[in-house]
């Protein structure tokens, strides 16, 4: 089981802030493909990966990063702090 968190417009498009999923996905990209295949709203949120960032256990990562041992995955747009 893995916790998936969504922030900002990703959260709005998918319609929920977090969910727990059962997945065999090996990498972030595999997980994205799995989620996108589920429902239209996921496919829309993940349509352009260049406009998304991902964090694995609260550290920024790349979409080809492996998911082995990861407990929390977060998807969000580029950050706008400060």
């Amino acid at each position: 089981m893995i916790d998936i968190l969504y922030f900002a417009w990703v959260r709005e498009r998918i319609g929920l802030p977090r969910e727990r999923v059962e997945t065999q996905a090996a990498t972030v990209s595999d997980l994205v493909a799995e989620l996108s295949a589920r429902e239209e709203r996921y496919a829309l949120a993940f349509a352009d990966l260049a406009s998304l960032r991902v964090a694995l256990d609260q550290e920024l990562a790349s979409f080809d990063a492996p998911l082995a041992g990861v407990r929390e995955v977060a998807f969000f747009p580029p950050m706008t702090g400060g």
Partner: protein
């Protein structure tokens, strides 16, 4: 070093004074404050979302890097989240160092990293609706100078 991620407003004056009063050996204190722009009167409010846990972790790591890189006596970061009105202070950075060059550089470094590596997202709420603020290419480019 102190980091506070909070929804409450803070007093720039009180925070700056308290910070500057407890920096033994410092000869320079630099503070930066970010305000909610009113966009010529078009902005009603700004909503700031963040990623609790990662926010503290990411900013803590930036502060550790700043301390490793410059001769800092102390550093402070306050960043708000939630709903803010135009003109309100969003965040502040303060740095103290023996000499001003280190205090200025560390403050700029922290600001550049906070802009695009701290997990905050701003949404502008105006009369015609709400819109997420897009990240700027120049903010990303600013990181290359460090």
């Amino acid at each position: 070093m102190r980091l506070s991620v909070q929804s409450d407003a803070f007093s720039l004056g009180a925070e700056s004074e308290a910070f500057a009063a407890a920096v033994p050996g410092a000869g320079a204190v630099v503070t930066f404050t970010g305000l909610v722009r009113d966009n010529g009167g078009a902005l009603a409010a700004m909503e700031i979302e963040h990623y609790p846990g990662m926010t503290e972790r990411a900013i803590g790591a930036m502060m550790d890097q700043a301390r490793a890189r410059w001769a800092l006596v102390d550093a402070l970061v306050i960043h708000r989240h939630g709903r803010l009105k135009a003109g309100e202070a969003i965040m502040m950075v303060a740095t103290a160092a023996p000499h001003r060059a280190d205090a200025f550089a560390a403050a700029e470094f922290l600001m550049d990293y906070l802009k695009s590596r701290a997990p905050f997202w701003k949404k502008e709420i105006g009369a015609d609706g709400a819109e997420w603020v897009a990240a700027k290419d120049e903010d990303e480019a600013a990181l290359t100078r460090w």
